[in-house]
Symmetry: C2
Subunit: 360 residues, 2 copies
């Protein structure tokens, strides 16, 4: 045992499930790895030393059971697509261009060739959309399906984005279109009804979310982003983490814009737009931008065909994280190693847990 372990206030007998992700990070991982470049960022940084222009970054994530699977979309394609998306989204938050994905599949022996092919189709289609591909991997059998991938990317010279670097006064941009995944859940749960064609489009975007790789790269290349993080666990924990990393607070607007069909879903299901926009699953980015750069950043993103909206401003830490009415923001945060950790489950309960709303 290292000295670090002895210094830690967390005893060896404590269970990780009683600590929660945040305490695990602070008390076990930070003392050990806090000195590693990029610690706490979505991507790790590799010291490639010579020659390479721009940092080499890597990120690894496992794929949980996709929400759409619980919504009846049992085609393994969606898990494959999501696996690639989750990892590419971390590259997006670093402003990196993907160099490739290595995949690691543990599959039960009872998996059929057809199911396996669909899984691969999902990964391959998603990586192709982002101009990259699977370059290697590992496959083994095991009792439980476990899908893991590692995405490797390269940043523009001096342009790696991370959680650090924001200052009070910076504006927060939400990059991408929130609300598609959980709107689809509300539609499946029949809390709202829309025309078949609109539902089909929402379903498509829920099943095949796009990581904001091009957007992150464009902002990094233009030097317009000071800090960035992807919304993997919801808007509130993302903003809270960005604030925490930079020793800042934030004032967030509740007047978040949703695409029109999603606003319809909110109206019909009695859910606030801000509540829907807080949910995870759309792989948006939160980016801190200097006030004078907001216009150019939006224009740059518009050029990439990506929606972006200002959702608030970073403020001194003492002001805390509040909403535009001045009330403290206590959003819903899914935390790993806690009762809120995502493991799928019954849809009505999920909707309540994630959207903070009783299913009707």
């Amino acid at each position: 045992m290292s000295a670090v372990t002895e210094l830690s206030p967390v005893g060896d007998d404590v269970r990780l499930g009683d600590l929660g992700e945040h305490a695990i990070l602070e008390h076990i991982l930070r003392p050990r790895y806090g000195g590693v470049r990029g610690f706490g960022d979505d991507c790790a940084v590799l010291d490639a030393e010579d020659g390479l222009r721009g940092d080499l970054v890597a990120t690894t994530d496992s794929c949980p059971t996709p929400l759409v699977t619980i919504l009846g979309e049992t085609d393994p394609y969606h898990a494959g697509w999501l696996l690639a998306t989750i990892n590419l989204s971390d590259l997006a938050a670093a402003g990196a261009t993907p160099l490739g994905l290595v995949v690691n599949y543990t599959l039960p022996k009872t998996t059929t060739a057809g199911e396996f092919r669909r899984l691969l189709d999902g990964v391959d289609d998603c990586t192709k959309k982002h101009g990259t591909k699977v370059v290697g991997g590992d496959l083994r059998d095991g009792p439980v399906r476990q899908l893991t991938a590692t995405a490797i990317g390269r940043c523009v010279p001096d342009g790696r984005l991370g959680r650090l670097g924001a200052e009070a006064g910076d504006r927060l941009l939400l990059v991408g279109s929130p609300g598609y995944l959980w709107s689809y859940a509300l539609l499946v749960e029949q809390q709202a009804r829309l025309s078949d064609s609109v539902v089909a489009e929402i379903r498509e975007r829920a099943c095949k979310p796009m990581a904001q790789v091009a957007a992150g790269n464009a902002l990094a290349t233009a030097g317009l982003a000071r800090a960035a993080m992807d919304v993997s666990d919801g808007l509130f924990p993302t903003v809270r983490t960005l604030c925490g990393a930079n020793g800042l607070g934030a004032r967030i607007t509740t007047a978040i814009q949703l695409d029109e069909p999603l606003a319809d879903v909110c109206a019909q299901s009695g859910l606030g737009r801000f509540e829907l926009a807080q949910a995870w699953g759309d792989w948006t980015l939160v980016v801190a931008v200097r006030p004078e750069d907001v216009g150019l950043a939006k224009k740059t993103l518009d050029g990439e065909g990506v929606a972006a909206q200002e959702i608030g401003v970073l403020v001194p830490r003492e002001e805390g994280i509040s909403l535009d009415d001045g009330e403290p923001w206590e959003g819903i945060a899914q935390e790993r190693f806690s009762p809120s950790s995502w493991h799928g489950g019954e849809l009505p309960r999920l909707i309540t847990e994630v959207l903070g709303k009783r299913a009707s």
Copy 2:
């Protein structure tokens, strides 16, 4: 579904467990990924395009239950060490220098902080031994412990090693010292007895195997290796795969040298030395070397403090894979997605399966 899928002779309803790893590779993965640079090699190759001297490679592997855990060494340290070793061994086979490891842990919530720290200690100690470190990762809770890592490395310019490149007449070198892990199993099973201090040393090497990173890198730098592969599933499948990739056969000597205490274990337990040397778990490399380079290769490895011995010669395919008595070699091969796939289990049965010997 792609055209590739339609061409494949394996129907969608076939289960992976009825195909086995080899058929999955040939009928599902090769049609899809066969054109990717480095397909079939231990490491994937990333196209970093500009600047970087030498190929950038990545490899990913999950860690099964270590054999030593079944042998009573339940400290999670050993799983951590093994996780790093498995991945670094693939870099070794590419002749690459590690740039870093990203780790991906799924752990039950009941895991204690102490167990988690020991796991991290194992990974960190092993990476440190090889001059590298964990640069990032992901942690989530789940019902079953699943440990995955990705190692990223850089090859010497024009010096990436892979399975391809060997020719008939090349000698096969076994790099490293085989037999430690399964000797320890035989000692635990009391099929042999040695002094406490010797047992302790064998136990140490079984619990903390060293990937041949320095050796692989030294051979690649010196341009002495034509092809290489690590012995992750046993000597026979390694030689068979190397032969298959190059369209060659091999003649292998049964007179493999073991370190003296391991020869003792063989003698006491009635196991042939060649049988013990065929087992997996010691993370040796098999390297194809031009006949005229054998001396220099051995000397180079000796300089690294790594044992190496000539174990055979590559021959034209028609001659098949045989032993020095001319008989075909039908070694024991553990194949994933087959009944032989490694999942731990009862020790006497394991010894029979892996060493091809009835437990007494």
